[in-house]
Amino acid sequence: MLKIENLHAEIGGTKILKGLTLEVAAGEVAAIMGPNGAGKSTLAYVLGGRPGYEVTAGSVTFKGQDLLDLEPHERAALGMFLGFQYPVEIPGVSNVQFLREALNSQRRARGEEPLSGGEFLKLAREKAALLKLDMDMMKRQVNVGFSGGEKKRAEMVQMGILDPAFAVLDETDSGLDIDALRTVGDGINAIMRAPDKGVLLITHYQRLLDYVKPDKVHVLAAGRIVKTGGPELALQLESEGYEAVTA
């Protein structure tokens, strides 16, 4: 479903990704773990098409299309979702307004009918309940004044509403307490566990993987995948550390 081959990318002339190759099949949850500075967030932003992240070599194919050739909003319409490590505040725009515009933009791009206000609110209520996020939060400005945990849950509500085919989740577990971690984990499973969907979970720690069981665990170090294994690899990393495992 997502095929990354020999990807090289840099930011402001600094090489971060140095020949990253990775494939995620439909129905698969893959975890990427790695030390600070390995290039995890860079990979997420390159997949999301953030300006300033320059791909110098390699290819990314998503659902048979050249992902790197698409604008960020076109990637979203194709079904790519990026969960931000630091969700962005948008003063003056409510979550409801933002997400309805986002969903209907995607639907129009795919040639589908936009949802009416009523239909949208019904969907938003359902997904907010799934993530235990108060509907009043949805009426507030996007991420403005939200706690770290609320921002992450709001991201997952966005994912639920947009219903993407593939989610790249960049440290979605950071800033979450134990209960919120479980809620977010359950949300990811409910929204993304399907034979025709895929997930790339980027995380430092094993703990999110207790709730969202990965099919594969990849270790990213110095811009490349250096080791791939099953869920047991995450446990080994947790007990022995990156250096020991990747040495």
């Binding site: 948008i90 003056g92 933002f98 966005q158 947009l162």
Partner: protein, 255 residues
């Protein structure tokens, strides 16, 4: 033979006049001399509320001057979009009696090389009067947006509470914005707050919207709508508010 009529020569403003320092002097020469002496006068009676919403969208230089006398406990509200195609200047001279309130929300928006400006002068000469002014500017091309706000608090203007807030977003290099708050305070129990910020579009917010599927032009419009909506937040007539926003955003579409 009759004597020549004695007329007071009207002096045209010069760049040395504080209130005209950012004006477009080429455009000003097209105004008739009398224009600098003309005011539309509005009296708001004690306890009454006056509200006016207007839009400047002329392609020719425009000068609109309004003098408002707000009587005891009365309220005056002015909301305006300055989206003219050439130099356009709105001047508001407001005199506040005891306990009166003045509310102003203004948006300057547009491209080209036009200067669009709001110039206000508030006379807080009486006690317990309040005022709130919010101006938002969005410009591109070689355009300029200005807000010059003068507040005079006289000796009797105790417990004056006056606020001015100006923010500008410049979409392109070459556009500019000027904010000039001017406070003259002769009373000692006074609150006068003013703030000004000039910046660019929040590109991270735009990228965040794009990552959720919102095309760049729609994302920009949503962000600018949110930005300029501050100027009309105090307008409690939803239709009027939406009308002003739509007119302002229409300009953006012509970009």
């Amino acid at each position: 033979m009759s004597a020549a009529p004695i007329t007071q020569p009207v002096t045209r403003p010069t760049m040395r006049d504080e209130a005209w320092r950012y004006a477009d002097f080429d455009a000003i020469t097209t105004f008739a001399p009398e224009a600098f002496d003309e005011w539309r006068e509005i009296d708001v009676a004690a306890g009454e509320t006056f509200r006016e919403c207007f839009i400047l969208d002329s392609a020719a230089p425009t000068l609109r001057r309004i003098r408002i006398n707000v009587a005891k406990g009365a309220r005056a509200e002015v909301f305006a979009v300055n989206a003219a195609g050439d130099y356009a200047r709105v001047e508001l001279a407001v005199s506040l009696a005891e306990g009166a309130h003045f509310e102003f929300g203004g948006v300057t928006i547009g491209g080209g090389d036009a200067t669009r400006e709001f110039v206000t002068r508030l006379d807080h000469g009486a006690p317990d009067a309040t005022s709130n002014q919010v101006v938002r500017s969005v410009h591109w091309g070689q355009a300029t947006g200005n807000f010059l706000g003068r507040i005079d608090v006289g000796r009797d203007g105790q417990r004056t509470d006056a606020a001015q807030d100006f923010k500008a977003v410049l979409l392109e290099r070459g556009a500019s914005a000027n904010a000039r708050p001017e406070l003259e305070i002769y009373a000692d129990d006074v609150k006068c707050a003013h703030g000004a910020a000039i910046g660019q579009m929040d590109e991270m917010a735009r990228y965040y919207m794009a990552s959720r599927g919102i095309a760049p032009d729609i994302a920009r419009e949503l962000l600018i709508r949110a930005f300029i909506a501050d100027a009309f937040a105090a307008l409690d007539d939803e239709d009027a508010r939406d009308g002003l926003l739509e007119i302002a955003l229409k300009t953006l579409g012509e970009r």
